[in-house]
């Protein structure tokens, strides 16, 4: 009886663990099964590189959206990455313990703020600001970049900081012994040593930025045209889905699901990159640990 119960429990636990495999498989199957036929009907190449998106005329090209996503993400990285890494360096190597505790809380909070609230903040603060400073309507790639740059900060900080902390103390001491100042040791020795962790944080930030829908949609203007410049609007893949899914039917609907497939593939690539990088940084860390012992 007891043996039976134990095996039963084991199987239950195992099934629960397998659920995530099942869920991923299900998501893949459903997205691909619903998206690929639509892509075929439109023509894969035409769908991916077409520069016009006119559901009314049955013209579906998502190239403007792909570009929009890439531009917005790149802009967010330009704003978010230096700020995030500098903050991580400050927290890891310069700040006093009390400030670090406080900042950690702040970063956690920043990560917890819902994306609609960011979007709303962008709508009522950043958009008018951009409008007043640079002209135009304000809802633009620039506004989206600023909001996304803020949104990826916590991701970058919370992964870079442990990576910096994991660099063995002996590196730092060695650098000091060679006559380097504190700053020089941090920027020339510790930062390069923590490289793979820091890059991993950036990759994850890219994933977050590319997948963000609500906040971007609220500030980016969403014209389904080729993005013209920083101050003009653009539409990303995510906002394309959110905006039109509500009323889409038939091929239009399939085209939107196909957009999600493209987005999904982007995300999968980013994820793979991330786990590869993370694996490397962990490996490095363990090798160092062993050497220290």
């Amino acid at each position: 009886m007891r043996k039976f119960k134990e095996t039963g429990a084991k199987i239950t636990f195992m099934l629960a663990a397998c659920f995530s495999i099942f869920a991923v498989a299900l998501i893949c199957v459903f997205l691909f099964a619903n998206g690929i036929p639509g892509m075929r009907k439109i023509g894969v190449l035409k769908f991916l590189t077409g520069t016009e998106w006119k559901p009314g005329n049955n013209i579906y090209g998502i190239f403007p959206m792909i570009l929009g996503s890439i531009y917005v993400t790149a802009g967010a990285l330009i704003i978010g990455v230096p700020t995030g890494i500098m903050t991580a360096i400050f927290m890891s190597k310069f700040a006093s313990k009390r400030i670090v505790g406080f900042m950690k809380q702040a970063v956690a909070l920043l990560a917890g703020i819902p994306s609609v609230v960011y979007g709303f903040f962008g709508l009522v603060v950043v958009v008018p600001l951009v409008r007043n400073m640079f002209g135009g309507s304000g809802t633009s790639i620039l506004s989206a970049c600023i909001i996304l740059g803020i949104m990826i900060l916590p991701t970058i900080i919370s992964i870079s900081e442990p990576a910096l902390n994991a660099v063995p103390q002996s590196y730092y001491e060695g650098a000091l012994a060679l006559g380097a100042t504190h700053e020089r040791a941090v920027f020339r020795v510790i930062l390069p040593a923590a490289k793979s962790g820091v890059i991993a944080s950036v990759v994850l930030g890219v994933g977050r930025a590319i997948g963000e829908a609500m906040a971007v949609m609220m500030v980016a203007g969403n014209h389904a045209r080729m993005p013209k410049g920083l101050l003009h609007g653009a539409r990303t893949m995510t906002s394309n889905i959110v905006m039109e899914m509500g009323y889409a039917a038939d091929l239009h609907r399939e085209a939107l699901i196909a957009t999600a497939v493209v987005l999904f593939i982007f995300i999968l690539i980013i994820n793979l990159l991330f786990s590869a990088l993370k694996g490397r940084s962990e490996l490095l860390y363990h090798v160092e640990k062993k050497r220290q012992l």
């Binding site: 007891r2 119960k5 134990e6 429990a9 084991k10 239950t12 636990f13 195992m14 629960a16 663990a17 397998c18 659920f19 995530s20 495999i21 869920a23 998501i27 459903f30 997205l31 619903n34 900042m103 809380q105 702040a106 956690a108 909070l109 920043l110 917890g112 703020i113 819902p114 994306s115 609609v116 609230v117 960011y118 979007g119 709303f120 903040f121 709508l123 009522v124 603060v125 803020i150 900060l153 994933g207 590319i210 997948g211 963000e212 829908a213 609500m214 609220m218 995510t238 889905i241 959110v242 899914m245 509500g246 939107l256 699901i257 999600a260 987005l263 999904f264 995300i267 994820n271 786990s275």
Partner: protein, 257 residues
């Protein structure tokens, strides 16, 4: 730092004067865009998704930590898929939920579809935190329990899980935060009807969705500010609770050393 203060500060300053008792009226009308139904819906949807995801996540973590052998192929696969799940953007969850729960399973846009979608979304968070909490439980506890003649199952439920409870709770609270803040995954699964649902199969609207519709209609900016404040307060509360619990574990493991 500055950014955080400015975001939070701005919203609080602009929002607090706009909070009025009218916003908490039971019924939603066009004259009075009450947020109470949305608040109730948020609580309901959180509760249902947790009901589904928490046991699943905890069991999965128990398997990974207590039962599976290291290097087992299932473990590897589970890890990879869990990581993938946590990387999928919420809009894709929303779309999947729409295709699977709403259309294929025939749940329509409903509380249930939304909750099911969300429970898949928070699964990796719960698994991950529970796993970490279980790993932190010292091996002596298990050995002691085995030594007293308890079976594996009993050890897991009476010894290991109770001593990891703080970590598990912190994970659950974290996922509540995620649910409360979620919009994209819910628009097309739970819908946007701003009423308190009569059953599991009625369409609902959570606070974040409520806020999104308010600000996109652009008629109710004041109310949107107020909703933002309510959302922020909830998130801050949840965050500090989770930080408090995490600190508690930290201290305990520290004492053991």
């Amino acid at each position: 730092m500055l950014i955080l203060v400015s975001v939070v500060g701005y919203i609080l300053v602009m929002g607090i004067p706009n909070i009025s008792p009218d916003l908490f009226k039971w019924r939603y009308t066009t004259e009075n865009v009450s947020l109470l139904p949305a608040l109730v819906n948020t609580i309901l949807i959180t509760f249902i998704s947790l009901l589904l995801a928490v046991p699943l996540g905890i069991f999965a973590a128990v398997y990974l930590v207590e039962y599976a052998r290291k290097g087992n192929i299932i473990v590897k696969l589970v890890r990879i898929t869990a990581e993938t799940l946590s990387g999928i953007p919420s809009i894709i969850y929303g779309l999947f939920g729409m295709l699977f729960f709403v259309t294929t399973m025939g749940f329509r846009m409903s509380l249930l579809s939304g909750a099911l979608t969300l429970s898949i979304m928070i699964l990796p968070i719960i698994m991950r935190t529970t796993e970490e909490a279980l790993i932190a439980v010292p091996a002596e506890y298990r050995e002691g329990s085995f030594g007293l003649g308890a079976g594996k199952l009993r050890t897991v439920f009476k010894v290991v899980l109770p001593s990891a409870i703080h970590g598990i709770l912190a994970g659950i609270i974290l996922s509540i935060g995620r649910i409360v803040g979620e919009t994209a995954a819910l628009i097309y699964t739970a819908g946007t009807v701003a009423e308190i649902p009569g059953s599991l199969f009625d369409s609902t609207r959570t606070l974040s969705v409520h806020m999104y519709t308010l600000s996109s209609e652009a008629l109710y900016i004041k109310q949107a500010y107020a909703t933002a404040v309510v959302l922020l307060v909830i998130v801050i509360g949840i965050n500090s609770l989770s930080a408090y619990l995490a600190k508690k574990i930290g201290r305990r493991t520290y004492e053991k050393d």
